[in-house]
């Protein structure tokens, strides 16, 4: 059907226009004059507006955390307000009144690391993993991420461990009880990259505990089936609703399916809710409390619907989930129906008489706003994302039941009572500095700053302005990125001969190894491996000098749940994105220093001692070259059509090959495309004939050739279906492979050997090649038990060439053996 002839539709579309159409504000014309006057123009000038709330807003686990501070406001707002509004005399304070004298205005910081909270799990940096804090009945309760132990404090400085409390990984307060979740490993069902649910072993199950005094804890009657886990919970008064379903733990897949909902009025006895059919199986669901009742929002999966989630994983490629946004409401948590009212926002402060919400409503309200009922939102004109300046880094929101504090890097924190007014908080106190990056937690009387493996408490001062403030650590200095000139000539690479492999010696299971690693890279001084974390989690990094002995790098050193490793000069680089972007360099694989630089986190990249190359997507169509961590970025344009998309890059010797797709000028369809370069400066373009409607997704390199995977790609750029394997000696000419490898084989390459593996007849079968065209079977030296481990449900086995050896990695283990050279 020609839908342009659908007059109802096209007329309705044409009728959509603003009357009168708004004119561009004068600031745009001023910007134009400033640009043309010779610049330079900083990116901040361009992105003057609200940044969207960081991904914490869309992370289900954070909803649970945010929801954990809800429900207590009814008690706390009245109980705390009198105390919190008192002006606290302090020697460093002067009588100058801040903008809002009734709001917190400053934080008097002290380091409380050694005053009784659990030892930092990671002294190298980062925040305490899994930390949750709620304020309940005048005290702050904190479950340590390091061991799940529960601690409490009434002043924010002295913390006491609650003996006998279960290990908890989440907390929720109601007026009557304090609730906690504990989790355990269990067999489970997980969706794979195609959305098909398969058996797995990395799942969590959840148990709910309750306490009426914070000291004595009882296990509730809630029995969540093995394989499911609590994804979200919320309370209205004493009524608590819990959503549960297949967890995303261990896969990074955001498609968490909700299959169960429970309700309880005291935390002890739980009842299963009656859910509409479309609510069962909906993904990314979270529950919030509103004055309309409990509202659950999520995505009803429908392959015919528009894309709702686009997710890329280094090992699994691009995943798109189609469906529709939908909300359901329940006044009692037992019976649910489709919600027709205004969808709720993401509240971060409690619900109750006299209280308001602070949160966000997505496209309705860029930045942040407040609400009295959780569904109707007013934008805060002077919030921390506009008039008061911008929060940078990962913003954290927390509430003690009356104040809401938003913190970014610095720490740069802002406070509100949920009435639309925000005030910047000065940093003061006796300590000399604070870690720049961390997580803020508002508690009674002040703010905890959980950063760098240490904990700080900032006592809140109200209505005063400090004379002296703490100097916060400066942000990393960005490395300028300049277009052109071309990079300096690269040194000549002399390569030693590479032998073909026929198998391995006896594979030994490593006591410490890169279990579940998605990527292993060789660099000047050894090997580094990376495993991506689940949404809202952390990456894991391991380092090895020889590929057989590995050590874990403390994960708290990094932000971000997804990352990429690349060799560069004498160093190795880690770039992260999702839940926190960053670039780190290391010259020994163990110690990592954060650096500035262009935002290249999720770009295809590859490097070696020669330097590294990262490729930008359309419309820029550029590649960037960096010779060393402290060097100059060079930018070069790719030749050819504008409509091009780069997906993956590989390096063999001194030849980089970038692959992706471009538009066929004759048919308008995508075709696989490649751009080879032997000097990182000059790039050629090549397309694959006979592959209309496809695009390259990935490429790996051997010593004498490359192997790439293409897939059918529709007009919107979405790839689907089985993969097709291609080989090329130079990245310019491509030949379809007819190897034993199937469409779903996993491919790795270190620039010398390419290894392809697949499970055939219940056994892991692998082949290796150095040119991508001739392949030899790899015979593994492994006993039957080990072989069985590799093909257990959810094992996800893959093999990496590491120097003269082979590393086998599954979800549960890592094995290494020297390679056997083919005679």
């Amino acid at each position: 059907m020609n839908y342009e002839e659908d007059l109802d539709l096209t007329t309705r579309l044409r009728r959509i226009s603003a009357e009168p159409e708004p004119d561009a504000p004068s600031t745009v014309y001023g910007f134009l004059d400033r640009v043309a006057a010779g610049g330079p123009v900083e990116a901040g000038d361009v992105r003057r507006g609200f940044p969207r709330l960081s991904v914490r807003r869309s992370r289900p686990r954070s909803f649970a955390r945010l929801a954990a501070v809800m429900g207590v406001a009814a008690v706390l707002v009245l109980a705390l307000s009198g105390t919190l509004l008192l002006t606290i005399a302090h020697p460093s304070a002067v009588t100058t009144s801040p903008r809002y004298p009734d709001l917190w205005s400053a934080l008097e910081w002290q380091d409380i690391t050694a005053t009784g909270f659990p030892p930092a799990s990671d002294p190298s940096g980062g925040s305490m993993p899994g930390l949750r804090i709620v304020t309940w009945r005048g005290a702050a309760y904190w479950n340590s991420g390091s061991d799940g132990s529960l601690w409490s404090s009434t002043d924010g400085v002295s913390w006491q461990k609650i003996a006998g409390a279960p290990a908890l990984d989440n907390l929720l307060a109601t007026p009557d009880v304090l609730l906690g979740q504990s989790t355990a490993e269990a067999p489970c069902q997980l969706p794979d990259s195609a959305g098909v649910v398969r058996p797995s072993t990395c799942q969590l199950s959840s148990v709910v505990w309750y306490s009426s005094d914070g000291l004595t804890w009882n296990r509730s009657s809630l029995e969540i089936p093995a394989g499911d886990a609590i994804s979200s919970w919320a309370a209205i008064g004493s009524t608590v609703v819990v959503l549960a379903g297949a967890s995303d733990y261990g896969t990074g897949d955001p498609a968490k399916q909700t299959s169960l909902a429970y309700v309880s009025t005291g935390g002890s006895i739980w009842h299963a809710s009656t859910m509409p059919d479309d609510m069962v199986g909906a993904i990314n669901c979270y529950v919030v409390s509103t004055r309309a009742g409990f509202v659950v929002s999520g995505i009803v999966v429908d392959p015919a619907g528009p894309v709702q989630i686009s997710w890329t994983n280094v090992s699994m490629g691009s995943v798109e989930i189609h469906g529709y946004q939908r909300s359901w409401v329940s006044s009692d948590g037992l019976n649910w129906s489709v919600y027709q009212g205004s969808a709720p926002g993401t509240p971060v402060v409690g619900f109750g008489p006299g209280s308001e919400y602070v949160g966000s409503r997505g496209d309705v309200m860029p930045g942040i706003g407040h609400s009295t009922d959780g569904t109707h939102w007013l934008q805060d004109s002077d919030g921390p994302f506009n008039a008061l300046g911008q929060i940078t880094g990962q913003a954290s929101f927390s509430s003690n039941g009356s104040q809401v504090v938003a913190c970014g890097d610095g720490p740069s924190c802002y406070v509100t009572l949920g009435d639309g007014r925000w005030q910047a908080l000065q940093n003061g106190g006796t300590i000399s500095s604070l870690p720049r990056q961390g997580q803020g937690w508002a508690i009674q009387g002040g703010l905890l700053w959980d950063a760098g493996g240490r904990l700080y408490f900032g006592r809140a001062l109200t209505g005063v302005t400090l004379q002296q403030t703490i100097k916060v650590a400066p942000a990393p200095t960005p490395t300028p990125f300049t277009e052109g000139p071309t990079p300096p000539p690269l040194p000549t690479v002399s390569l030693t001969p590479v032998s073909k492999w026929s198998g391995t010696g006896n594979l030994v299971k490593l006591p410490v190894g890169p279990i579940g690693a998605d990527q292993v890279v060789a660099w000047a001084h050894g090997y580094v491996a990376l495993k991506n974390g689940p949404t809202g989690g952390h990456i894991q990094v391991w380092s090895s000098k020889d590929g057989s002995a590995w050590a874990a790098v403390p994960q708290g050193a990094f932000t971000g749940s997804t990352g990429q490793l690349t060799a560069i000069g004498d160093s190795v680089m880690l770039a992260t994105w999702n839940d926190g972007n960053g670039i780190w360099f290391s010259s020994n694989g163990v110690d990592w220093a954060r650096s500035g630089g262009p935002p290249i986190g999720d770009l295809p990249m590859a490097g070696s001692g020669l330097g590294m190359v990262a490729a930008m997507d359309e419309p820029e169509g550029q590649v960037m070259y960096l010779a060393s961590p402290d060097g100059q970025w060079y930018g070069m344009s790719l030749p050819g059509a504008v409509i091009q998309t780069s997906k993956s890059i590989a390096l063999s010797g001194s030849r980089w090959v970038l692959v992706g797709k471009m538009s066929n000028p004759k048919t308008g369809n995508w075709v696989p495309a490649s751009w080879p370069s032997s000097d990182a400066a000059n790039w050629k373009e090549a397309t694959v004939t006979g592959a209309d409607g496809q695009g390259f997704l990935s490429i790996v390199a051997g010593r004498d050739g490359f192997v790439a995977v293409s897939k059918a790609t529709d007009s919107s750029g979405t790839a689907s279906g089985p993969g097709t394997l291609w080989s090329s000696p130079d990245g310019s000419t491509w030949t379809k492979l007819t190897t034993p490898l199937g469409a779903d084989a996993t491919l790795t390459g270190d620039g010398n050997h390419v290894i392809g593996c697949q499970v055939d007849s219940g056994r892991l079968a692998c082949w290796s090649s150095i040119d991508g065209q001739t392949w030899s079977v790899l015979t593994f030296g492994a006993d039957s038990a080990t072989l069985a481990d590799w093909t257990a449900p959810g094992a996800k086995p893959r093999a990496f060439a590491v120097g003269d050896g082979v590393l086998i990695v599954t979800a549960d283990g890592a094995w290494y053996a020297p390679a056997v050279v083919q005679k």
Binding site: D8, A18, L32, A36, S58, W311, V364, W377, P478
Partner: protein
């Protein structure tokens, strides 16, 4: 990230040409991004990108199409970056309660189809916006986006098909 800008060569001509295109660019960005503030940002970003590449433009007669393509690409990038962020749709009830009214958002909220457009892939949204809200012909869109005509047609086809399907599914159209 600091942008390394060329010298002020041709600055007067650049300013004159851009000024005539700013209203069109700003409105296109507004409809696509559904936010006056972000439309302003996107227009500024497009100006910065255009100035960076100004020296490469050989035919100033084609400035409007060239600059329009940059604007469309900037918007498309911004739409792509929104993916993965949970988007909550506006409705009339909510829009009426907001202090900060937004002309573009209000316009798109007038009809369910305006709200549905934002669920389309970014490249389809751009084609829809140029076709129905900038009133360009398919050939002009092809020229503006530097896309083959067939690609423009297919993107529009899939976009309209998705919109019709969703409208029918919602049962809000009786035909």
């Amino acid at each position: 990230m600091a942008l390394a800008l060329p010298a002020g060569k041709g600055a007067v001509a650049f300013v004159q040409l851009v000024k005539t295109e700013i209203p069109v660019a700003y409105r296109l960005a507004g409809y696509l991004l559904r936010d006056e503030g972000e439309a302003e940002d996107a227009t500024q970003e497009a100006i910065a990108r255009a100035w960076e590449s100004w020296s490469k433009l050989r035919d100033q007669d084609r400035f409007a199409a060239w600059f329009g393509r940059i604007v469309a690409n900037v918007c498309q990038d911004r739409l792509r970056k929104r993916r993965g962020i949970r988007i909550v749709e506006i409705n009339d009830e909510t829009a009426g309660d907001l202090h900060a009214r937004d002309a573009f958002r209000d316009a798109l909220a007038r009809d369910e189809v305006g709200r549905l457009v934002q669920s389309l892939p970014p490249d389809q949204q751009v084609v829809v916006a140029l076709r129905f809200w900038r009133d360009l012909s398919l050939e002009e869109i092809s020229d503006r986006l530097d896309l083959p005509l067939g690609t423009v047609k297919s993107r529009l086809h899939y976009a309209l098909r998705s919109l019709r399907k969703e409208l029918d599914r919602q049962g809000k159209v009786s035909r």
